[in-house]
Symmetry: C2
């Protein structure tokens, strides 16, 4: 397996390390991920997050593990553990299944090549999405986004934020409105950090303020990532996305999920079949990160904390895939099923 380098993940030819995204932007700490079990823990605890990246990370982890020549049953057990690290993003399941097929009964070289391919494909998928999506953006546009869908979430330039980056690099002046994205603050911590690095102007707001920006006409389009897209175009993404889609419909602002083909799950007919991960109550009772751990709610407060929500295709203006841009009408007519594997 040859070296690969992403913003949040590096394989230098010997060691596999990941950027601890829980600690950004306060601290840039790299963690070793020498075993599939270590990578599983990094994914489970969100040190590594973003649907495309967790698929790539799982693949590189298994590719790295294969180099040691594990017994097939040990490799399969490690793969099964990784596959269950988080339930919603299908990229993880896709990537692990590809690695299992490549390794077969012990083909170390094939596993390494497959891991490289999964990484390289993700970079290419990001490029293709960025190219298709950037055509939607005009000079001077305000764009609003939720959570983090940038380079930190992928092996490449990102999904929704990759679109913004490409349009910006094409010379379009843009302003990005960033939902802070409670409870884990991926917008305030990660998207703000990425935009600052890129020099793209942005404004941070709380999630409840987005509706005001839409009403005021400051937002031309809303772009978000996706963790799993069902066959009918419904999709799961970070909790808060559904409410944002409703706001877009009310205010007549175009709403676009941006996702690679690896996020599409044709086996899932519609959104209600996507499994949604519930997370710990303390995430909502306060906040935790390299900035510290604080709790502001009563310690015994009952909490509702789904990690994701599902947005129906009926609220989607168009879905930006690496393969092209698909309108709501096309999604509702079943276009994804016709695109095949």
């Amino acid at each position: 397996m040859n070296p690969r380098r992403a913003l949040g993940l590096v394989f230098d030819g010997e060691r596999l390390t990941v950027l601890d995204q829980r600690r950004l932007p306060t601290e840039e700490r790299w963690l070793p991920a020498e075993t599939p079990e270590a990578m599983r823990e990094h994914i489970h605890c969100l040190a590594v997050r973003g649907a495309p990246l967790i698929g790539v990370a799982a693949a590189l982890s298994l590719g790295h593990y294969a180099r040691g020549g594990p017994r097939p049953e040990a490799f399969r057990a490690a793969a099964a553990r990784l596959r269950s690290a988080r339930p919603t993003a299908v990229n993880l399941m896709h990537a692990v299944d590809r690695m299992l097929r490549a390794f077969g009964d012990g083909d170390t070289e094939a596993a390494g090549r497959e891991a490289e391919a999964i990484f390289d494909e993700d970079v290419a998928l990001c490029e293709a999405m960025a190219r298709h999506g950037a055509a939607l953006l005009g000079d001077g546009d305000g764009v609003l986004t939720h959570c983090n869908s940038g380079a930190l979430a992928t092996a490449g330039v990102g999904t929704a934020l990759g679109v913004v980056r490409r349009a910006w690099e094409d010379g379009k002046r843009l302003h990005v409105y960033v939902d802070e994205t409670r409870p884990l603050l991926q917008g305030a911590r990660l998207t703000a950090w990425e935009l600052r690095r890129l020099g793209i102007p942005y404004t941070l707001q709380t999630d409840g303020m987005a509706a005001l920006l839409l009403r005021a006409g400051r937002v031309k389009r809303v772009l978000v990532g996706a963790d799993r897209v069902a066959r009918n175009g419904d999709f799961a993404n970070k909790v808060g996305t559904y409410g944002l889609a409703v706001q877009c419909a009310h205010h007549g602002v175009p709403f676009h999920p941006v996702a690679p083909w690896s996020t599409v799950d044709l086996a899932v007919p519609s959104g209600e079949h996507i499994p949604i991960e519930d997370r710990a109550p303390d995430e909502v009772r306060g906040a935790s990160g390299a900035f510290g751990t604080v709790r502001w709610a009563p310690e015994d407060a009952a909490v509702f904390n789904p990690s994701f929500d599902v947005t129906p295709a009926s609220l989607v203006t168009s879905l930006v895939l690496d393969r092209g841009v698909y309108s709501r009408e096309a999604l509702l007519a079943g276009v994804l099923g016709t695109l095949g594997g």
Copy 2:
């Protein structure tokens, strides 16, 4: 001036003190408010908050000040300073103007009586709102609320949360879904604290999760307070309220602001004329309270931080006033203007 006692404000016959709401629920710290200037600072920094309570607090502060026999020009200057402590809630302006009229050229006794009257009227207004509003709630209902509109926000049982309390005390089983209400977390800190004291079951969620609860049918009605109601029924309330009203319209969930007559400003024809306070960027870059001060966003992040937003009457199912319940149709037909002073 005789003793008066509210959940967040006590005049014991000699000393005027306020509960520091910034430090709840971590700590119950009482602050002296011996001068109008001290009270102005408490209101400005949100130690004392809630549209009705800041009006009552200003009145008691001026009533207390009047006992010392200040010169009329000093009294008027103190009143003017208090009046400008926060720009959106009209209760503050109403209360200060009443105190100025009562004190006139130095009538200490009249000022004391007026302060008592303003306090007692607020208690009675809360009772009347609670009675009218409770009739809207049925046994087993889920109710969602934003920010804090309970006893902490008034001299009495509260506005929207007072309605919940009355219905609960009437024997209706209720479950309250509490928006945490970023950035200042009045829901997570104050509403949760009040509901816990009252023994009313509640669940805390981030603001972006409310849409999911509405879609799931877990919320029968949404009740919120108001900081200023315009003549046409548009109203300002804590930022995030407007987006919640849009969600209610989309999901067919009835949406009710609950406010005392002292919150209505007939001089303001519609919502776009209500002044909206912008607050400091650091409120959005992190969080601060007795639990500590943390910053999770880049320290130079540009921020959008209006303290309030305006919801148009067209999104209101009915407005619960102390005088009765007024439907959207009645509001749009101008009923508030006909109710007079």
